[in-house]
Symmetry: C2
C-alpha cells in the first residue's frame, strides 16, 4: 500500500465523537503502529472514546511528544457534500473526506515521516504519540487522563495537532490556542400550544431569543460581566509575525472580512450561536407556540480568560425560566515565541517550504493545550507540520486538502525532528 | 355503523394539508354524503386540496350554508402522542385523534344532525355544505374559489367551522375571527464555517435573532409602523358577554394567565415565533457558524388590521441580508351581536345545554370569514355548534374531545336549524 492508500483506509473509519463513534479508529491506529514496529496501546479512560499511546525509544536525551486527535466533527448536512464524507476521493490534486484536514491527514503524515526516519536510521530523538478521540466534543476528562498518565507522557517538546498553510499560503506555526466554553440554553413549557393563545401564553422561543440578545451586542461585544478583564492583548513582536492574505481568507470564507482580520482572529473572544431550534421547521406553515426551544452557544476565549469564570457570570444572569447545560470547557494557552520548539519549527518550515512561515501567537481555534502545559509541566508546546490550508472547509462540507501538502508536511516533519535532535 | 364508527373512519384519513395530503378526505366526504342522499361534488380548484360542495334543497325560503374544513395541522412531534394520531381511540369518555377537535368532529356532528332532521321530515330550511381542504395552511385561493362559486354558495346564514365549550365550559358562540400574516424570515451565507472564524465572519443565526427582537418588544408589543392604528377596541356590550374560567384556561394551557385574559385573547394582535432553526441541533456540541437560519412568524391580526398593510411595513424594514417568504394572509372579521344568526345561536345553545352561552366578538384564531362576508355579500356569519373544549390540545399532541360533546353538538345543531326555520 502507498502512503495515500494507508491514509484513505484511515479516513474511511467514521470517528464522529459527537455521535459516540471512534473506537474503531483507535483500534486502526494501534494496529497500524504495531505492524510497523511502534509500541502502541489502546487506553480506555473516562471519555466515550479511548486514547492511543505510542512510543519509539531510541535512548536519546530529548523526547518529542506528538499530539493529534482521530475523531471528527459530524459531517451533517450530508446533502451538501459532493461525495460521501467517509469514502475518500482524490480529484484535481485534492483529497476529499471528513477529517482529512482536521486532523487525520496531519496525524498520518507525521507518523509516516517518523517511520521513515526510523527506517533510515536517522531518528535521534525519542518520540511519543498520544492520539485523542474526543477533541471535537471539547476534550472531556483530558485533565484526568493527563494526570493518570503524566509519567508516560513526559517529554521535552510537545507538537500540537497541526497547522498547515496559513492565510497567505506560507507554512504556519501556532504557539497557542483559544479556550472554549460550550453551553446549551433551553426554555420549556408543558406543551405546544395553538398560536391563537399568543396574547396570554409564554413563548419559550421568544424567551430564549431575548436572553441571547442580552448576552451579546449586535457588533459582537459580549455583555457578560468582566468578560474582557483578563484578555491579554498582543505585544509588538507577536503582531510583527502575524500576516495573511485578505484575498485568500475572503475566498476561503466566501465573504468579505474586516481590516485587521488576522489580529482579530487571534485576539478577539466571541459568543457564537452554533445552533438554534424551536417549533415547526418543516415546509409551509404551522401556527404553534413551541413548547421547547434551545440554542447552542460557543464562547471562544483568549489568553488569559477562564471558562470557569465566564460560566459563573453566565449562571448569575440566567433567568429562572431558562436552563443551562455545559457541553465543554477548555482554557486558552500561549507558548513563548523564543522557546526551542518555536525556533525549531520556524527554521524547519523555512527549509521545507523555502519561505518564511507565519507565526500565530495562538490559533483562532481550540485544543486542550493548557492542560498539557499545566499537568505535564511543559512550556514548549507549539504547532505546525499540518496538511490543511485556509480553504480546507474544516468542520464543514466537502472538507479537503491538497495532495501535495500531505507530502510537504511529511518533509517538514522530518526536518523538524532533525532540527530538534541537533 | 354507529355515529362514532363513522366519525372514526373519517379521522383515520390523513389530511395534513401542509404535507399536500387531503384528496382522500375530500373523496371520503363526497361518498359519505351521496350514500345518504345529499347532492355532493368534489371541486378541484387552485389550492392543493379540493373543495367539497353539498346541498339539500327542501324548497324553503331561507338557506343555511355550513362551512367546515377537513384538513388538519401536522401531527409532529409524533413521539409526544400517546396514540397514533391517525388511529382514533376512545378512552375514559374521550376520543383521541388528529383533527377530532379541529375540525373533523364538528363537521361530522353537524352533518349527522342535518341528516337526522331530513330523515325525520323536520328540515324546513335549505342547507348547503362547503368543506375546505387548505384551512390549516392559511386558505390560499379561497377568494378565487368564492368568486368562482358565489352563485352556488349563496345563503342567508353562514355557520362557521365550529365553537364548542368555552373557557368556563358553557357553549360558546363566536362572531368573528382574527386575521393572520404568516411569514418566514431567512438569512444565508455561502457555507457553514468553523466557529473559530466568529471574530471576522457573519453569523446568519445572529442576524436573524437581532431582526426578530427588532420586530417585537419583550412585553409582546409589535414594533412595526402603524401596527396598532386600525385595532378596533371592544365596545361595552361586547365586553359584557365575554367570560371564561381562569382556572380552566390555566389548566388547558398548563400555565398561569394574566388578568383580563379573555379580552386579551379577543382584542390583542400578536407576533409569534412558530419555529426557528439554524446550525447544529443534534446531541452534544458542534462548533460551527451556521450558513442558514430561518424563523417562521405568525402575526395574529384583529379587526380592522389588514395583513397586506402589515406586510408592506414589514418589507420596508427588512434588512438587505434577510429574505422574506409569505406563507399566508387572512383578514380579520366581526359579525354584529344583533344579527339573526347570532340570536338563533344564543337561544338554541340555551335550549341544548340549559345554560347561557359565552359570546366572543371574535375568535382568538383565524379563518377566511372576511372573504365569505365580502364576496358572498353576507353579513350573517357566526360560529357555534362545535365539539371541542378548552383542553382539546388543538394543533398540539394528544388532540381530543369528550365523546358526550360530540352528541351534544348534534343536539345543538338540530335546535339551531329549528330556530332558523321558525
Amino acid at each position: 500500500m502507498t502512503f495515500l492508500d494507508e491514509l484513505f483506509e484511515f479516513l474511511k473509519v467514521d470517528t464522529t465523537s459527537a455521535k459516540g463513534k471512534g473506537e474503531e479508529g483507535a483500534k486502526f491506529l494501534v494496529d497500524f503502529m504495531k505492524e510497523r514496529g511502534i509500541e502502541a496501546e489502546l487506553i480506555r479512560h473516562k471519555a466515550v472514546n479511548p486514547y492511543v499511546l505510542g512510543e519509539i525509544n531510541v535512548k536519546a536525551k530529548k523526547t518529542l511528544l506528538i499530539y493529534n486527535h482521530y475523531d471528527v466533527q459530524p459531517a451533517e448536512p450530508l446533502e451538501k457534500w459532493n461525495t460521501d464524507p467517509f469514502k475518500p476521493v482524490e480529484k484535481d490534486g485534492k483529497i476529499y473526506a471528513r477529517g482529512v484536514a482536521d486532523d487525520k491527514g496531519t496525524l498520518m503524515a507525521r507518523l509516516q515521516a517518523v517511520l521513515q526516519l526510523l527506517k533510515e536510521g536517522k531518528l535521534k530523538v525519542n518520540v511519543k504519540f498520544v492520539y485523542e478521540g474526543v477533541e471535537e466534543i471539547g476534550s472531556p476528562f483530558i485533565e484526568d487522563f493527563l494526570q493518570d498518565y503524566k509519567e508516560r507522557l513526559k517529554a521535552d517538546y510537545v507538537l500540537w495537532e497541526g497547522a498547515g498553510r496559513g492565510a497567505d499560503n506560507s507554512p504556519e506555526i501556532v504557539l497557542g490556542v483559544k479556550g472554549l466554553l460550550y453551553v446549551e440554553i433551553r426554555a420549556r413549557m408543558e406543551k405546544d400550544l395553538h398560536s391563537m393563545y399568543a396574547p396570554i401564553a409564554r413563548n419559550p422561543a421568544w424567551e430564549l431569543i431575548y436572553f441571547l440578545t442580552s448576552l451579546r451586542s449586535e457588533d459582537g461585544k459580549v455583555r457578560i460581566k468582566g468578560f474582557y478583564d483578563k484578555v491579554k492583548r498582543l505585544n509588538e513582536e507577536e503582531v510583527k509575525y502575524l500576516r495573511g492574505s485578505k484575498e485568500e481568507v475572503e475566498k476561503a470564507l466566501g465573504q468579505r472580512v474586516p481590516e485587521g482580520f488576522m489580529r482579530k482572529l487571534v485576539e478577539e473572544p466571541t459568543c457564537n450561536v452554533a445552533g438554534i431550534y424551536a417549533g415547526y421547521t418543516g415546509e409551509g406553515s404551522k401556527t404553534v407556540i413551541p413548547s421547547y426551544a434551545f440554542a447552542k452557544l460557543d464562547f471562544r476565549l483568549v489568553p488569559d480568560q477562564d471558562p470557569e469564570e465566564v460560566l459563573e457570570e453566565l449562571k448569575k444572569i440566567l433567568p429562572s425560566n431558562l436552563e443551562l447545560k455545559v457541553w465543554g470547557k477548555v482554557r486558552p494557552y500561549r507558548t513563548s515565541i523564543n522557546s526551542e520548539i518555536a525556533r525549531a519549527l520556524i527554521s524547519s518550515a523555512k527549509e521545507a517550504y523555502g519561505i518564511d512561515p507565519i507565526v500565530m501567537p495562538n490559533s483562532p481555534g481550540t485544543g486542550p493545550m493548557e492542560a498539557f502545559a499545566r499537568i505535564l509541566n511543559n512550556n514548549q508546546i507549539a504547532d505546525g507540520v499540518g496538511v490543511e490550508y485556509y480553504g480546507s472547509n474544516i468542520h464543514s462540507f466537502n472538507e479537503h486538502i491538497y495532495k501535495d501538502d500531505y507530502f510537504k508536511a511529511m518533509e517538514w516533519m522530518k526536518k523538524l525532528v532533525m532540527e530538534l535532535q541537533r
